[in-house]
Symmetry: C2
Subunit: 185 residues, 2 copies
């Protein structure tokens, strides 16, 4: 087992359960099954760990979402693909998803590293293309992006609170995409 990953796992679990200030580094080390000093060997400070965890999650999400989008497809198909992949990931990794939200509405947002922000450029560009093709009516692209994102968060939250079968979930997600799509086109 990679101790560094154990630390991230433990941190994710405890941070989402008790919040940043509610979880001492000692408890994280304990949960991860490593010594206190080991944690600080990998992460200089607690803040470092908090930000590293965010970065790690974002990268995993980004990789998963970009994976099976075919650039030849129509804007609609690509957008649907993005949306569905992100949602599915959010459902399967609800702790990670909650962590991202918690992080995003905390003062730590100000510390998000620049390279992470660039990741969203791909999706923004897709929307811009949709606007250029006059398919998407909502402008500017950043605004449309915000609408889609918050919609995604909302639906994810609803799904997490109202458990349903995997099949029903898929249908629900597909329908929810049609709702946003209808809204922005």
């Amino acid at each position: 087992m990679d101790k560094q990953k154990e630390i991230l796992n433990a941190a994710l679990k405890l941070f989402t359960e008790y919040g940043f200030h509610g979880t001492p580094t000692s408890k994280i080390a304990q949960e991860a099954g490593v010594a206190n000093g080991t944690l600080f060997h990998y992460y200089k400070t607690k803040d470092d760990l908090i930000i590293a965890l965010y970065t790690d999650i974002k990268q995993r999400l980004g990789f998963c979402v970009l994976q099976d989008v075919k650039s030849g497809d129509s804007v609609y198909e690509q957008a649907k693909q993005f949306y569905t992949a992100a949602m599915q990931w959010g459902i399967e990794n609800s702790l990670e998803f909650r962590y991202v939200q918690q992080f995003a509405s905390s003062p730590y947002v100000a510390m998000i590293p620049e390279e992470l922000k660039e990741q969203s450029n791909i999706t923004i560009n897709l929307i811009k293309q949709g606007i250029k093709e006059k398919i998407i009516k909502v402008t500017p692209a950043e605004y449309a992006m915000t609408l889609i994102s918050s919609h995604l968060y909302g639906v994810n939250q609803y799904i997490n609170e109202h458990k349903m079968s995997a099949a029903k979930q898929k249908l629900f997600v597909a329908e929810s995409f049609e709702l946003v799509w209808k809204m922005i086109t």
Copy 2:
């Protein structure tokens, strides 16, 4: 000046700036211009204060939103009224709005007092009426509510990040309501 309110004000300012764990009670007392002990005279624990602040904000928002909704109006008019009022309040009280978000995506959510949850019944009922009248197509009402709420948060965030004139803001808000309305009807 009411010292209790000063404490809430100071807490709001510091919590949104430095987070829950980033602001010691001593700093709150200092910012409020009261002694350390006074804070604990009004709030038994720090958690008490955090929850009390949330409750206070929610009640103020609720009061403001309910204020000028006429029960005789159509579902559309009432919904628009609700949405616009909430948004306007969120723009004018951005610190409070951010605090609500921060709180909602923290472990403190689990501690929200029951009586606060009942407040949303009025809006839920309005949506239910809209469903009964076959104006609103998205069911169940709780789902529609979630969609509207997350939309509202998203638009609010966008407005806060992209400053514009008051007139433009109003137009923007009105248009954004038409977007959600189109989505759920």
